[in-house]
Amino acid sequence: MTEQGIGARLLRKEDDRLLRGRGQFVADLRFAGLKDVAFVRSPLAHARIRGIVVPLTHKDAVFTAGDMKGVKPIRAVSGLRGFKASDQPSLATEKVRFVGELVAMCIAPTRAEAEDIASTVTLDLDELPAVYDMLAARNSTSALLHDDWGDNVFLETFVDTNIDKALDAPIKVTREISTARQCMAPLEGRGAVAIWDKRLEQLTLHSACQMPHIVRTGLAGCLGLDEGQVRVIAPDVGGGFGYKAILLAEEVCLGWLAMQCGHPVRWIEDRREHLTAGANCREHHYRITGYADRDGRLLGIDCEATVDSGAYSSYPFSACLEAAQVASILPGPYDFPAYRCRTYSIATNKCPILPYRGVARTGVCFALELVLDAIAREVGIEPHEVRAKILVKPEQMPFDNITKKHFDSGDYPESLRRAVGSIDIPAVRVRQKNGETDGRLIGVGLATYCEQAAHGTSVYYGWGIPMVPGFEQATARLTPDGGLELRVGVHSHGQGLETTLAQVAHEILGIDVSKIKVVHGDTAMTPYSTGTWGSRCMVMAGGAVSAACKEIAKRAAKIGAQLLQTDVSRVTVRGGEVVGSQGSITLGEIARTWYLKPQNLPSDVDPGGLEATIGYKPVRDTGTFSYATHAALVAVDPEIGDIEILDYVIVEDGGKLVNPMIVDGQIYGGFAQGVGTALYEEMPFNSAGQPLASTFADYLLPGPTEVPAPRVDHMETLAPYTEFGVKGIGEGGAIAPPAAIANAVNDALRPLGAELLNSPITPRRVLEAIARAGRSAT
């Protein structure tokens, strides 16, 4: 390890501007003639549109679906059998299908004035019954979202591997488990500025997005433009978490509007739009049975999982990725012989749920880990003993599990052992016996997961969604002064890629990271990429940067050898120099020679020069499997239902850590979001389909005082198939906390016979569970 290369805890280069408030986010952009957009949104969850009345005085400033002729709806299909596609019009046409759906678009010099105009537009709506409960939505009597479907099911999937062999197991534990609908709540919401350039005949969309190339493809498709006529720029972006992976109807509207009106137009999402009509995620329901023998060895899992997908299939991930993934990842890091899972992706009159950090994994981990603890209680052994029996062992690696996931490497039981030791379960048991002086109940909970990340073509091809990742490309370019530019199609919005990708390049070329510039977030300047999602950037873009830098090193070595008057086989590239036996020459000098003094180049120099775009894929593209065990110690106040996290341990294996400090940051952030899922965050809807949390007064996020510092312990098992042995770690922190915390709460409440199975675990839910247990005990 060098001071700046792979493994260095380098401070983040981008923080110099971000922490000084010098970032440039979409809302910071200024353009002459810019006008603001406010949308008229549906006040009802489900209704037929009879009419939209625009006062004459504003008729030139208001646009409805009728105006947007030729614009295609957003359509994200899946190739999975039986998938029903939805068409999401940019502005609602015949029906509105969720509260907050776009109905009309108003422009004015300022947002406030645009809202003034929006408030004068009246909607004549014929209200229909709202489909708000995903379980009831499956009934044949339910109202229909999409009239021609015949039901409300986007997709049903089914797998069965030997479940009949488990059905007679002596221990059978069945639970109904759910995770609430949540909102992602990045610091910055969505936002876009659209500009039509008459000279270039090109639409530029400045967008707070994390997958600019995919947004470009989707946008060009909806607007009927050549892709060359669309440029998407994602400037500084304040967190994405999946919400910013999606092509929004708002963006299609703005693109169309900019082409119509000839001046730049802007929409900046406000928090109310974000909470009620945008960033929803995570609403899962599980009916799950665990079968085990009397020693607590898991023999099978049988599950019916339902995901509330909301009204439309979002581009590009589709409405079914979440539920369909549930079926493939529910078995977790465990080895057991029988498995059955049926999943439903259900359309409801709510805004679409979108992939959120951890995607289906958080719900899956919650369901499975709660059942494992229930089995442990049933057979009377420690929860970690149940897990130790079935965790895939290091000697089984690489391991193909029951759903054919290929676990690449690692020592899962060791992460469990370390977590159990670190949280000190024996000491907790003693403390529980003695009781707490303040009358609270303490409990300890575990959750182990493994996370498939950076999975590529072979996996995504199977989902058949609009986007399948292939080779990831990076461009490396030496500049005449010996600096390095890296151009990547992924986007960094909190991950620190401007630093870590520079570290990768430094590792190969030895150029000082201060002279390495990572260019990202502009489709005109970077190679095509599916973008930032699936914990893939360090594996994929890191691998690509490494490959491109190696190509540069090769070409520079050739020039360097000539200048050093030696053979290319006798030089190496290191420390920013080409080093031969008799001397060395800097990459800067080599770059100057290529660009400005070509007369000195060898006659057989590579005409590609000192710029190379190389595509990279791991040796196997079935994904890296990082994993972790989380252990939580909590205190529950049984009188008022409050929960305090007393201690929290994370033992994780992310393979080779390019920058351990940044990895820690990713884990802390994910953990904070996991605490939110576990204890605070919930977007409730009433039976009319109205979202009930429209500000952060109603939608609670954990703050600094609610998120203790977790103790993080790293294992570093190198991934066998990736450059440097890295594994994706971006999402992991958010996966296990709800399960670990819920298990700890259930452990604490065990003396009262109460058990919590729904996130978030609010004081009310705690007290209701205690009251229920009290009633059933008497």
Partner: protein
Amino acid sequence: MKPVRFDYARPADLAAAIALGRRDDVVVKVIAGGQSLGPMLNLRLIQPDLLVDITAIAELKRVEEAADSITIGSCVTHADIEDGHVPDVTCGALRAVASGIAYRAVRNRGTIGGSLVHADPSADWISALTALGASVIIHGAQQERRVPIEGFMAGVFETDLASGELVSGIQIPRLSSAARWGYYKTCRKTGEFAHAIGVYLEDPERSVCRAVIGATGGKPIVFADANALVGAGRSPGALDVKLARDGMTAHGLTDPIDQQIHLAALRRAIARANGS
């Protein structure tokens, strides 16, 4: 969302503010710290033509100490009180309550008067000051009037204030040195509004034994003579649960779980007054 267009005035004296408030050609709204009004403006829940900012009026920031009470100007902020800029006549109760409101950024701007007029049942001052036996000083076109705080809050977001009237200050009686108080609020996270509030004040020299259950979904529930409620010895077990539950039920707080949490808050407030 953004507010509707409005005009803004920042008068320097109370009379000018009251005159502006009495204009009937436009919708006038008073703004103090803006911590509750700001979000309501942004959500267009209120759409005034004119905002009258009262924070430049010196007399609304005055604090006057008298032998048996203190009068705090309505524009004194929670942070002023938290920081001890207001003389302590309540054995530390005001400071403690102030420091538990929201978080510092809100306390820097939010005012005691604004909090009372906003009349959010979950707010801290309305319950705490009810237990302390404060009164609200009101100025309008007519003479100043004083209302005991129990009569000030009329319901959720509703007060006894007539249109054109302003709260100029709050008068709080001085506790005797032997007084004991306890304040307890439950909330989901630091800085949140309370889910339940319990307040208890015992000041035998002034023959006061008062308990308040707050954050009820309406006015705070007051037990003006709480001797029977807290029971002999003031021990947690002595609390007359039935009396407390009946009080809550009579005020429409009927949900058993809510009742349980409010009971716990009250019990803990009493325990704090007893030094535990």
